[in-house]
Symmetry: C2
Subunit: 220 residues, 2 copies
Amino acid sequence: MNTAIILVSGGMDSCVTAASAISDGYSPAFLHVNYGQRTEKRELQALHDIADAFQVQDRLIVDITHLADIGGSCLTDSTIKVPEADLENSHIPVSYVPFRNANILSIATSWAEVLKATAIYVGAVEEDSSGYPDCRRSFFDAFEKTIDTGTKPETQIKIITPLITLSKKEIVELGIDLKAPLHLTWSCYQNENLPCGKCDSCALRARGFEQAGVKDPILI
Amino acid sequence: MNTAIILVSGGMDSCVTAASAISDGYSPAFLHVNYGQRTEKRELQALHDIADAFQVQDRLIVDITHLADIGGSCLTDSTIKVPEADLENSHIPVSYVPFRNANILSIATSWAEVLKATAIYVGAVEEDSSGYPDCRRSFFDAFEKTIDTGTKPETQIKIITPLITLSKKEIVELGIDLKAPLHLTWSCYQNENLPCGKCDSCALRARGFEQAGVKDPILI
């Protein structure tokens, strides 16, 4: 049984991604990063709840709060306000953390090479996302080439993005099909007790459940 | 004046790389990482000494000791012995820290994007190096493509590797030409007071000075 590293933030997309990896036959290892996001405590709880639900033993929690020191995003810089959702706008939002996914994938690759894992699963979504440049498949393809050139010759690691072409509606539907524990996930960028309902992440999630004709279990 | 991020370990190669960047006309910002290496305390002192010598104000010290938790290298895993030098052997040595340079370059890119820097200088050496896969120019080319796809469209960052084709002898000579403060650098993987003289890094440095016909100023 091959091992896959799954990037698990604790949100809905990463939960469905974990369910996908398990459904594809991989033994999962969960990587979670604390990059100084406002809601880290709640996300970490969601990570452990989801790992418990899937009976995942291998959990690596990594602190990369230097990204907060570097700044440049409303998610990590408290002087920049989290804006209300603007899903029609295609410019790069202030919640973009510069090159965040490359930082996370580099850690995942280091761990994968030691565990001899053959895949890294990432719950990135290209359509219906907030337009982050490091969430596009072209970025993951480039990173895969970087892995090929920068690791031992015998290391073979694919980056698998099962949600990349899905809408939030389809992610909700896939999660329900795969019996992913969506009730344990957390998506809000702003709050840790009740979802704010106003940030990009809340708005996308709400629209996904609405279009799928399903009630969001965390709001029930 | 464009800004360049320089990866500065505190060793001779990174010191000469910094001198190159300054000679190329960049305003330098120094990035140093603590990845759990045995000699971090001594390296950090060298970093600050070199930065003082070059009057560099922007210094970012980042802790990525999770690479030590992940393990897999004698530099970070105290259960793996630092071997004596074997410069004729071309296999990947146990001092290889899996995908270390991608982790460091990701941080450098995040910082570069915030500072609007246009270059990242890396003192990697392909020939006469210890055969790490993430020290080859092909790796840096792949990473540069990853930066292009994973950052904002207006972000343009080159990875410059001024030493990549040089031998240690040529690096010593270039350092002397550029008046790099080689007496402030530290290279040993093993010790923090006197260089052990036996590890790969000491052996390469000693051979470089010997071939250049110059005495190593840290041994005088």
